[in-house]
């Protein structure tokens, strides 16, 4: 992903900003242009809390070329506490610790580094909730 897209997506990647429908209250991530439920186009930005549970998961051993240097890494569908599912990488967890329903929280991590010369892209990942 090149710089313009990364820059444009920063509120989503940095702050989990989606949309909330002002008509029916439906919350969406990624942000929608039209409410997926009631089709209203009256949407406002909505920031998700970043808390959720694992809905499904996988550990990647053969990745897209751009992520090849990171294998093995784990990914998940996370059910956010506000409702929607989000696709994400997992952080600070080994494959045998991952379970469906495990509580997780958003953290900011490096997602992709474009070689030695290109930009470093930061964004959300999810990790097991810290039990302080």
């Amino acid at each position: 992903m090149d710089i313009p897209r990364y820059w444009r997506l920063r509120n989503q990647r940095y702050r989990l900003e989606g949309t909330e429908c002002t008509e029916c209250g439906e919350k969406s991530f990624p942000p929608r242009c039209v409410c997926a439920k009631c089709k209203s186009d009256s949407l406002q930005p909505f920031r998700f809390s970043g808390k959720g549970t694992i809905y499904s998961f996988s550990t990647i051993y053969q990745a897209l070329d751009t992520f090849d240097k990171d294998i093995p890494y784990s990914i998940a569908l996370v059910k956010l506490e506000e409702g929607p599912l989000i696709t994400t990488q997992l952080a600070d967890i080994s494959p045998d610790e991952i379970k469906i329903k495990l509580p997780v929280e958003m953290v900011i991590r490096k997602i992709y580094e474009d070689g030695e010369h290109g930009p470093i892209q930061y964004g959300y990942k999810f990790r097991p909730v810290l039990n302080k």
Binding site: I108, R109, L130
Partner: protein
């Protein structure tokens, strides 16, 4: 001339937060690989923290600052300065501070930039943030000391070069958990340790780094601070010194007539290593975690090149209300997963392919 630095408006720490990555490399791993385990009775520390492959000074700064924000309860939009002190900024050109500010929701009404002063970049940022708030330029300023330090494979520094740090939100004394009594900085040109541009690993002057650099600068900073404030070591509940290893801060405390008990809370190096710009400030958040209202705390950093910042803070009642709003420093110290040298070498890019 008065040497002590005191802002016009009384200023203090209104929120603080720590972050240490969860991975630990035991010193024995390094010893076994590079010295056949022959130095196992002389290891400078037990283990050091290692960042995950997806962590860097920016991501770690964000978590520490989020913890500081939780304790401060400040609206991020009211923070008017964001300064990240580190020797491991991910970019040579492009500030760490802007990424941190954007992610925390501080942008756009803020000044932001990066500090570099070896291991005292974090306290340098604190001095600047104090001045910024103390002069009335803004009500709140965020200062961070954070590093993912790299030691050359096989070098003595590899045992200790670690990752972690802390963030502080400086603000008006009325809202503070610890009010600044005064600070002092002592700086000279001393080439004890340096890293040239474009180099991955630093060079250091071995024994030269001890007496002439670390001990000399901290001694002068702390004794001047105490003289000017008319204080003696026994006036401090806890004192935190920069901690490149276990030996140095202990020796320094002894030279300055602080007891072992007085440096106990902030001495983390044996468990997490030398987190460079993060080292003294992490020790300080650990001390804040345990402090009682009315306690006086000493923070003295050291940065190669060289200099020392010394601060005297007095803890307020508010500490009890905010302490539990974020994980404490010991939580991050205890949260650990040991890794071997192979994983460390891969994650820290010690294996160079070209």
């Amino acid at each position: 001339m008065s040497k002590i630095m005191k802002p016009i408006r009384q200023t203090g720490i209104i929120g603080y937060g720590a972050y240490i990555p969860k991975y630990r490399l035991p010193a024995s791993e390094i010893s076994n690989l590079w010295r056949d385990g022959q130095d196992e009775n002389f290891l400078p520390i037990k283990q050091k923290s290692v960042p995950g492959p997806d962590e860097d000074t920016i991501t770690m700064s964000i978590e520490a600052a989020q913890n500081a924000l939780k304790r401060a309860g400040t609206d991020p939009q009211e923070i008017r300065a964001v300064w990240v002190g580190s020797e491991s900024h991910p970019y040579a050109v492009k500030p760490s501070g802007t990424v941190v500010s954007q992610i925390l929701g501080i942008v756009p009404d803020t000044v932001s930039g990066d500090f570099e002063f070896a291991c005292k970049a974090g306290t340098e940022a604190m001095q600047a943030a104090t001045a910024f708030v103390g002069s009335g330029m803004g009500d709140y300023a965020l200062a961070i000391g954070m590093d993912t330090a790299q030691g050359k494979p096989g070098d003595a520094l590899e045992y200790t070069a670690a990752a972690g740090g802390a963030a502080f939100i400086m603000g008006p004394a009325e809202e503070a958990v610890a009010v600044l009594e005064g600070s002092y900085s002592y700086v000279t040109d001393t080439p004890d340790f340096f890293r040239r541009a474009h180099q991955k690993y630093p060079e250091h002057g071995n024994r030269f780094t001890g007496d002439l650099a670390y001990f000399h600068h901290i001694y002068n900073a702390v004794t001047t601070l105490m003289e000017e404030l008319n204080l003696k070591p026994s006036d401090f509940a806890q004192a935190v010194f920069h901690q490149p290893n276990v030996k140095f801060p202990r020796k320094k405390a002894k030279d300055l007539n602080f007891t072992d008990l007085q440096i106990k809370e902030g001495l983390l190096v044996d468990f997490i290593g030398n987190t460079y710009a993060g080292a003294s400030v992490l020790g300080f958040t650990a001390a804040l975690d345990k402090a009682e209202p009315g306690d006086r705390l000493l923070l003295a950093s050291f940065g190669s090149g060289a200099g020392s910042d010394a601060f005297s803070f007095i803890v307020t009642d508010r500490i009890k209300k905010v302490r539990s709003k974020a994980p404490d420093t010991q939580y991050y110290v205890r949260r650990e997963e040991k890794i071997d040298y192979a994983r460390y070498a891969r994650w820290r890019k010690k294996i160079v392919m070209h």
